[in-house]
């Protein structure tokens, strides 16, 4: 078990080194360095930007993110159940189906409330 996660850890490390090396090679050694304020200004089709970039989020995005969190967390609970599927009896499966139906009820509630409506 430890060995497997060592492998994963090494993989993540290598995943950082492999793209990191060409990026550093490009930005530190090979690429030209002729900066000027106009070149470094944010691109907006040639017009100078007005105001702050980091504007307020539209509230709609939060709602979708919230619905997503609900679904994600609930689904994670189903994965261990799926692994133990051979050991559970039929009535337990029915219980899980009821669990999923409650989840679907949440979706229908959000739907009827108009949370899934893009405005």
């Amino acid at each position: 078990m430890l060995n497997e996660w060592t492998f994963i850890g090494l993989f993540l490390l290598m995943g950082a080194i492999f793209p990191g090396v060409p990026i550093l090679l490009n930005s530190l050694i090979l690429g030209p360095k002729k900066n000027n304020p106009v070149k470094n200004s944010p691109y907006e089709c040639g017009i100078e930007t007005v105001g702050d970039t980091w504007v307020q989020f539209k509230v709609q995005y939060y709602i979708f993110a919230l619905v997503f969190v609900i679904f994600d967390v609930e689904t994670i609970f189903l994965f261990p159940f799926a692994v133990a599927f051979d050991q559970v009896a039929l009535f337990m499966v029915v219980e899980v189906v009821i669990f999923i139906l409650i989840l679907a009820g949440g979706l229908i509630y959000a739907w009827r409330k108009g949370a899934l409506q893009w405005v």
């Binding site: 060995n3 497997e4 060592t6 492998f7 994963i8 090494l10 993989f11 290598m14 995943g15 950082a16 492999f18 793209p19 060409p22 990026i23 090679l25 490009n26 930005s27 090979l30 690429g31 030209p32 360095k33 900066n35 304020p37 070149k39 470094n40 944010p42 691109y43 907006e44 089709c45 930007t49 970039t53 980091w54 504007v55 989020f57 539209k58 995005y61 979708f64 993110a65 997503f68 679904f71 994600d72 689904t75 994670i76 189903l78 994965f79 799926a82 692994v83 599927f85 039929l90 189906v97 999923i100 139906l101 989840l103 679907a104 979706l107 739907w111 009827r112 108009g114 899934l116 893009w118």
Partner: protein, 427 residues
């Protein structure tokens, strides 16, 4: 040292050789293990980074053929070295960080996006004993590192100090985060069928490919994975005609290149994962005895999936953002929930009835899926009819989008019972 092992277990053969070599150097066992793991990591990671060089050329050629062009054909045989020339060009480009950008986040984003895609390959089995490592939570691992890619795109868009990039990041939240829900739900179906999250076990259990027992889940998995990559028809986060280039608008040189590599590798990973989860992975005649043959089968299936992704990119127009979200939350999520319920109940009932044959189980579940498709079709056409009647009642103008095709798109927006709450969109 048995040479026949070279064919039956090539990785084990090489590993044995290396262990003997390292042990003769007098290294401790744990050090040998770490070195072997490092070698494996380097091999798989380099495979993952060299593969896009080929994929980009392949995709450009195929898309060109679809658009009645020739595509790159000058550098190398059939233009196969074009991507290497492009990579060299990107290496000698100037690296620009826009004024006011959040430097740390800005520079970390392209690296993170590559990490997210490459790490998925750590658990993908190429053949019966050719694989990075076996995780007993492989399916969850793939989803969790895959969602790092979403984070990378969000980081890149947010930190660029550019409004187009920020719009791209906003859309990322709406799209990638939303599509993760049906992705996770449809991934649950093969896990139920195999009773394991380990990708190796999932393949071993596929005496009958899971696409037979779960065609609906397979389709949903494929479609949502394409949306996760941000490919056409779901390329809203980098829609070049709307927000120029979206989240990577300010990136130049190799940082842009890394986003590019990550996207193409991810598109191929979609094909590979579909092959592993639904098409039997390395399974094929003679694959267990000769793992190298299994690698061939696996790559063939993965490329078939990837080819489909390319065809979708070349053939389909971009989907509108409200349609995209409706398609996800009002169509894919309910249908995948229904597919899970169907698989759960169906599989358990078949097991309780004592029908042990794999083919019988797959056939019965396939019939169940057909019923599901029919019910969904009935729902869609009923709601499409209702919507059309509503719109014709509300105003008489007949817009050209309202032929059958347009109606089926609209149908995703409304299911029966929703007529009151859902106002018809103004055209």
């Amino acid at each position: 040292m048995d040479l026949s092992q070279l064919f039956s277990d090539p990785v084990g053969f090489v590993r044995d050789l290396l262990v003997q070599l390292l042990a003769s150097l007098g290294l401790a066992d744990s050090a040998i293990n770490v070195i072997l793991a490092a070698i494996g990591v380097v091999i798989i990671a380099s495979f993952c980074l060299v593969l896009p060089l080929f994929l980009i050329w392949f995709e450009r050629r195929v898309v060109a053929r679809m658009q009645d062009r020739i595509g790159p054909n000058r550098v190398g045989p059939q233009g196969a070295l074009q991507t290497i020339a492009d990579a060299i060009k990107l290496l000698i480009k100037e690296d620009i960080t826009p004024i006011g950008a959040d430097k740390l986040v800005y520079n970390a984003a392209p690296i993170l996006s590559v990490i997210a895609v490459i790490s998925m390959w750590a658990v993908v089995p190429f053949a019966v004993n050719i694989l990075g490592t076996r995780l007993n939570v492989g399916a969850l691992y793939i989803i969790s590192v895959g969602s790092l890619g979403t984070l990378a795109i969000m980081m890149g868009g947010w930190s660029s100090n550019n409004k187009y990039a920020l719009l791209g990041a906003f859309r990322t939240v709406a799209q990638l985060v939303s599509y993760e829900a049906p992705l996770l739900l449809s991934l649950l179906v093969p896990v139920i069928l195999a009773r394991s999250m380990d990708l190796g076990t999932i393949i071993e259990k596929q005496e009958v490919w899971f696409i037979v027992a779960a065609p609906v889940a397979a389709l949903i998995f494929f479609a949502t994975s394409v949306a996760e990559v941000g490919r056409t028809p779901f390329d809203l986060l980098e829609a070049e005609s709307e927000i120029v280039a979206g989240f990577h608008i300010e990136y130049t040189g190799m940082k842009f290149g890394m986003f590019f590599v990550a996207e193409f590798l991810h598109a191929f990973t979609v094909g590979a994962l579909t092959a592993v989860l639904f098409l039997g992975g390395w399974r094929g005649p003679g694959a267990e005895a000769y793992p190298l043959l299994g690698v061939l089968y696996f790559m063939f299936k993965a490329f078939a999936g990837y080819f489909l992704v390319i065809l979708m990119r070349a053939a389909l127009p971009r989907i509108r953002i409200d349609h995209m979200l409706d398609l996800n939350w009002k169509f894919l999520v309910p249908v995948s929930l229904a597919a899970i319920v169907l698989t759960l109940l169906g599989d358990k009932l078949i097991q309780t009835a004592g029908l042990e044959s794999e083919w019988l189980r797959a056939g019965l579940l396939f019939l169940g899926n057909l019923v599901l498709v029919w019910v969904v079709y009935w729902f869609l056409s009923a709601s499409a009819r209702r919507m059309r009647a509503e719109e014709e009642g509300a105003d008489d103008h007949a817009s050209p989008g309202h032929d059958d095709h347009g109606a089926s798109h609209e149908a995703h927006a409304v299911l029966p019972g929703d007529a009151g709450a859902h106002a018809a969109p103004a055209h």
